[in-house]
Structure formats: structure tokens, C-alpha cells
């Protein structure tokens, strides 16, 4: 019986590793030098955070951190599908960074109070760096939302494409009930989602972009069976149930793009996984 904390730590680590990998793809290609540096640095931070979390998971998994990061089959990764999507254009990249980092902030703030002391300590260290990611996302949010018509439209389109899958950052992790009962998770994901939606809704209301919460386009990638073989093929993307009640945005239904926490991923991840783990698979244990 695996330690129930492993699923949680892997979900956190895999989110950071996979999105960090996507951020690193801007190296050399961002619209200008400062953004090239920004995404390269944020990516480096996220991958560093992933490494710290994998080192924490070593003991729970009985595998070393490299094997956890790079030696698993695609169906064994536990990240949210949001993190594996290609960067697309700038509007989507910024929308995703904003949605992910604000969601991550809500989650990490809560985990500082985890009864799993090593995780709480790791999270405190990580948050000292995440504040700069939040700052970056916040500045771009203002710049694009209040920018010229085309910038605002492209940002809104990016939000529409990402928002459903961003909700699924708060998809239940395996053994969540036990983790909440033990205080490893001080609050349930559904509870954290409520807080995040409140903050997100307020931000979007302020710049009159709240309509993206109900008119989102969903993602275009099809769900595919992963190598674990447990998952059946077929599109499962559904409209996230988000409603405005008493002036507040609340979650009322299914998640879009759920399944990441159970190892269910899209074909976008297959390509990323091939590249990310290529060297490790070709030369296990290589050092340089």
C-alpha cells in the first residue's frame, strides 16, 4: 500500500516540472529579451521546486528523485492537464501563467499549515520565489487586460482556452479524504477552488473580463489512453460548471480537463514526455 502522501507530493512536483518545461520552451523565442529571461528564470525556478518535492517523495516512493522526475511512464504522471498544453501564442501563455500561479498560491498558502512537516517547510521556501511569478503574471494581466483592443482580445481568448482546465488544478488528489483527515491537506481541493474562484472572479470583474468564465472554448486536444492502459479513449472534456451566485463566482459541476491527478493526459503530453525524458531513457544514470 503506497503512502497516501505520495500522490499529493507527485501532483505538486509534476505540475511544476511539466509547466517549468513548457516555460523553458520560450528560451530564445520570447517577444523580447526581458521576457526571454523571465520565462527562462520562472521555468528554472519551477523545475527547482519540482526537484525539491521529488526529493521529498523519494522516501515515500522508494525511488530516487531522477527516476521519479524522468523515469516514469506518461500514465504515471499526476500533473494537471493545464500544465502540459503547448505554449500557443503569448495571450495563452500569459493567461495560463496567471491562472496557474494564482491557483498555486492558494494551494501553497494552505499547505504551509500541513501536518506533513517536511512538506510545510518546503512550501515555505518555495513561496519566497513564487511571489515573483505572481508579480510577473499580475503585471501582464493588467497590461493585456487594459491594453489595446487586440492585446485584450488575445488575452481574453487565452483565458477562454485555459480557464476550464485551470479549474482542474483543484481536482481531487488520490486518497484526498484521508489526507484531509490527517491534516496533510489542511483544506480540501474543493474548498481551495472556492477561494481561488472568488479571487479570480474579482480580478476578472474589475477589468470586465468576467464573461470568459462562462464562454470558454475548452481545450482542443483529445484525451488519449495512457500507457497504463487503464484509461479508455474518448473526449471527456466538459464545460466547467461555474455560476455567479449572489455576486460571487462558484463552482457547481464537473471539471473540464480532469483526470490529470489520476494519470490521464492528452496527446500534447506524449510529445512533451518524449522530449523531456529522452536523454534519461537513452542513457539511464547519465551524468555530465
Amino acid at each position: 500500500m503506497p503512502d497516501p502522501r505520495l500522490g499529493l507530493v507527485l501532483a505538486l512536483a509534476d505540475d511544476e516540472l511539466v509547466l517549468g518545461h513548457r516555460h523553458s520552451e520560450w528560451t530564445g523565442w520570447a517577444p523580447y529579451l526581458e521576457e526571454d529571461l523571465a520565462f527562462s528564470s520562472i521555468g528554472q525556478d519551477e523545475i527547482g521546486h519540482a526537484r525539491l518535492l521529488y526529493e521529498l517523495a523519494e522516501r515515500l516512493a522508494g525511488k530516487d528523485a531522477d527516476a521519479l522526475a524522468l523515469g516514469r511512464e506518461p500514465g504515471e504522471y499526476r500533473h494537471a492537464i493545464l500544465c502540459e498544453r503547448p505554449n500557443g501564442e503569448w495571450g495563452y501563455t500569459i493567461a495560463r501563467q496567471y491562472l496557474y500561479d494564482t491557483a498555486d498560491d492558494v494551494r501553497l498558502a494552505s499547505l504551509e499549515g500541513s501536518s506533513f512537516a517536511e512538506l510545510a517547510a518546503a512550501v515555505r521556501t518555495i513561496r519566497l520565489e513564487e511571489k515573483y511569478h505572481l508579480e510577473h503574471a499580475g503585471q501582464w494581466f493588467e497590461r493585456l487586460a487594459n491594453g489595446p483592443v487586440e492585446a485584450r482580445q488575445r488575452f481574453a481568448h487565452g483565458l477562454e482556452g485555459a480557464i476550464g482546465e485551470a479549474l482542474a488544478v483543484f481536482e481531487e488528489v488520490p486518497d484526498e479524504k484521508a489526507l484531509v483527515a490527517d491534516g496533510v491537506l489542511p483544506r480540501s481541493n474543493e474548498d481551495l477552488l472556492g477561494e481561488w474562484l472568488g479571487r479570480l472572479g474579482a480580478d476578472l470583474d474589475r477589468v470586465s473580463l468576467d464573461w470568459v468564465l462562462t464562454s470558454h472554448t475548452g481545450a482542443d486536444g483529445e484525451m488519449v489512453p495512457t500507457s497504463s492502459g487503464e484509461i479508455e479513449a474518448g473526449p471527456t472534456l466538459t464545460v466547467p460548471g461555474v455560476e455567479r451566485r449572489d455576486g460571487r463566482w462558484v463552482h457547481v459541476g464537473e471539471f473540464a480537463g480532469q483526470g490529470g491527478r489520476r494519470g490521464r493526459h492528452t496527446e500534447d503530453f506524449a510529445a512533451l514526455w518524449e522530449e523531456m525524458t529522452g536523454l534519461y531513457r537513452a542513457l539511464p544514470g547519465a551524468t555530465w
Binding site: L37, S41, Q44, D45, G48, T125, L128, Y132, E135
Partner: protein
């Protein structure tokens, strides 16, 4: 009377002070406040280090340099070096000598902020209270929160018209 430098712990600490961050060669890891714990017992020397940033790419290299330095300073002892993250490293750990050495190579050490949060900057250059490490003027702008390494920012001094770097506040 034996002075500290005669003892094994003294030799170990001097050896640690001889290891430099390859990305900031002006500073030793002691200057940067990266040495969290040194324990010398009969057979072993144990050192805990704190990385400045969790994802610092120089971490493994620094760890290896420390091992090599300690093996020679504490010959015959079992050398154990590890990176820990608790307590978190913060810019407050940089020593006065470290701050001096950073300024010498054009990197402003951290600065005090009134509110404890990151300094507010707009996307474009704006005034920031970081004094220029070259001329001391406060008429400087932060040009980018992101620099050549995860722990550094980029600035420009309007007084002496030099670009300079800053240590990212943590």
C-alpha cells in the same frame, strides 16, 4: 593556547570560506550565508548548505567543490555535505563582507523595503530605491526583475550611467 584556526573546525570553516559561487566568483559561500551548520565529530565532518534559490543551477557544482575542499582540510574524516531548505535562505543571510564584495563587482546587495513585499515596479523602467553599487546614487531604475541568474535583477544608474545588477530580495 590553541586558536580557532588550529582546530579542525577552524580549518573546516576556512576551507568553506575558500569555496566560491561559480556564478558570483567574488563571494565565498560563507559571504553569501549559505553555510547553515558545521559539525565536527571524531570521525566525521558534516556540513549543511542552503541554496540561495531552490533551482540554482550551480548547486551541484558548489556541493562538489565543498566536498573536495573538506576532504583536504579534514583528511581522514568522513565528509558529509548536503543541501537543506529549512530554514529558507534569505538575503538577510549575506554577511557585511559579502555585501561589500557584491558591491565591488557591481551587484547591489538587498535593500530594505518599507512593506516587506516585493518592490512595486511597472513593466517599464521605473524608479526603485536600490542604491547604485558604483556611485551610491539612489536615482536608479530597475530594468528587469529577471537577470543572468535566478537570484539577480538588472538596474540602471541615472547618475553615473552604469548598468548594474541586484540580488533578488528573498
Amino acid at each position: 593556547m590553541r586558536t580557532e584556526t588550529d582546530t579542525l573546525e577552524g580549518r573546516v570553516r576556512r576551507a568553506l570560506d575558500g569555496v566560491h559561487d561559480p556564478e558570483i566568483p567574488a563571494c565565498s559561500i560563507t559571504d553569501l550565508g549559505m553555510v547553515e551548520r558545521v559539525e565536527v565529530t571524531g570521525h566525521a565532518v558534516e556540513v549543511d548548505l542552503l541554496p540561495t534559490f531552490v533551482g540554482c543551477p550551480a548547486k551541484d557544482l558548489i556541493g562538489e567543490d565543498v566536498r573536495v575542499a573538506l576532504r583536504s582540510a579534514a583528511e581522514g574524516h568522513d565528509v558529509r555535505v548536503r543541501f537543506v531548505h529549512d530554514p529558507p535562505w534569505t538575503t538577510d543571510r549575506i554577511t557585511d563582507r559579502g555585501r561589500e564584495r557584491l558591491r565591488d563587482v557591481g551587484i547591489a546587495p538587498h535593500w530594505d523595503r518599507p512593506d516587506g513585499g516585493p518592490i512595486a515596479i511597472s513593466l517599464l523602467s521605473t524608479s526603485s530605491p536600490v542604491p547604485c553599487p558604483f556611485c551610491g546614487a539612489e536615482d536608479t531604475v530597475m530594468e528587469s526583475r529577471w537577470g543572468p541568474t535566478p537570484c539577480r535583477t538588472q538596474h540602471f544608474c541615472r547618475a553615473c550611467r552604469n548598468p548594474f545588477e541586484g540580488f533578488k530580495e528573498k
